[in-house]
Amino acid sequence: MTGKLRLATTSLAGCFGCHTSFLDIDERIIPLLERVSFDRSPLTDVKHAGACDVGLIEGGVCNEENLHVLREFRAGCRTLVAVGACAITGGLPAQRNRFDVGALLHDVYVAEPGLTRRGVPDDVELPRLFDRVRPVHEFVKVDYFLPGCPPPADAFWAFLTALLDGREPALPKELLRYD
């Protein structure tokens, strides 16, 4: 391997909006790639994260598979970063927390008018839903949080360049937002 910092990214219960915002660093991705190589990420299609320097996690934990991936990232990544409202608070998917999961599945897959096939999907490959959507820090230790829905591209840039330069990442107030 090169001396590049190894970076993995993934989305759990998220919308990939944080990844899209990350890509909004635009042409700055070229100098970034001179210092960073991507491990597991939607950008590489690598399926499992190996040993990495930094892991960026978008999305909260809503099912068994999310938790499995989160633990794999925590085990493999020296520095784990929760990115965006969903990873940090549960976000939009957590708006279901006030409802019973069984009742929700019934409403969506059985009671909903106009369905051609009724029945709650039960394929064994489908991960089971948790009763509540929870932020990642409620399951594993998180080293840094990058808030926003999504965090601005400049926040990704400021954060990653600080890490690369060996500085403690600290966002200026202009780049710190919860919406």
């Binding site: 976000g91 409620e138 202009e174």
Partner: protein
């Protein structure tokens, strides 16, 4: 002519008799982080965010009267850490979903978190279940966001003379209630023009049909954060 003064983080702040520390600081355009304090209402002293050290002792700046010669410290790493923890606890006790909240960009709790550099709620979320009251034709109550500051209680009782709101229960079970036999806002005398309808610092009491009408970048705290409002500076 000399007025009495205390020092705030080393700078002299003059005050008039009877002024609290936060009132005198505000008059001198010096920001002390606050949440439940409001210049138009008597102090409540419940959120403790404005806690400062007065001659070394922690005191709420909104309830402590200014006195000559006090040495007041506000901007210290320890106090900032305490304030962050208070804000984080408020975030996990309710359901504060900023990306979907009409109050985002004008919310005192949100702006305080950003002011203090809070990047995560830190603690485990309570995820309480608190149904919305949308019964009133012009107003909506989203109890998920209540921080128990009692500003609506104070405004409704002291200004509107209607006593529409109260806090009920104790400790973690304390919650905002509506003064009607049905418990619903539609069965009170509340009007959209009441002071209580506009005083909520977070997104509990919302006016219907005006949500998200102000674009991002022009919302109240986009224009001037609470700190900038106190310091008399407009934002970027």
């Amino acid at each position: 002519m000399s007025r009495s003064a205390f020092t705030l983080d080393g700078a002299e702040v003059p005050f008039d008799d009877g002024q609290t520390l936060i009132e005198a600081a505000r008059a001198a355009r010096r920001y002390v982080p606050f949440l439940c304090a409001h210049p138009d209402y008597p102090a409540h002293g419940s959120c403790r965010v404005c806690t400062v050290l007065v001659n070394g002792r922690p005191m709420a700046a909104c309830t402590t009267k200014a006195a000559a010669g006090q040495v007041v410290e506000s901007d210290t790493p320890a106090l900032t850490a305490d304030r962050r923890a208070l804000v984080q606890m408020l975030f996990v006790e309710g359901n504060h979903f900023c990306p979907g909240c009409e109050k985002s960009g004008g919310c005192t709790l949100q702006s305080l978190g950003i002011e203090l550099g809070v990047t995560s709620a830190g603690f485990a979320h309570e995820s309480p279940v608190r149904p919305v009251d949308a019964s009133h034709p012009d107003l909506l109550l989203d109890f998920d966001r209540c921080i128990l500051c009692e500003l609506c209680v104070r405004a409704s009782a002291d200004v509107d003379g209607k006593h529409v709101f109260a806090l009920s229960g104790r400790g973690l079970h304390k919650h905002l209630i509506v003064n009607a036999e049905s418990g619903r806002l539609v069965d009170t005398g509340m009007s959209v023009d009441d002071a209580a309808a506009s005083v909520c610092p977070v997104g509990v009491i919302l006016k219907k049909r005006v949500g998200f009408s102000t674009p991002i970048g022009q919302r109240p705290h986009d224009v001037a954060t609470p700190r900038q409002q106190v310091e008399g500076k407009e934002g970027a």
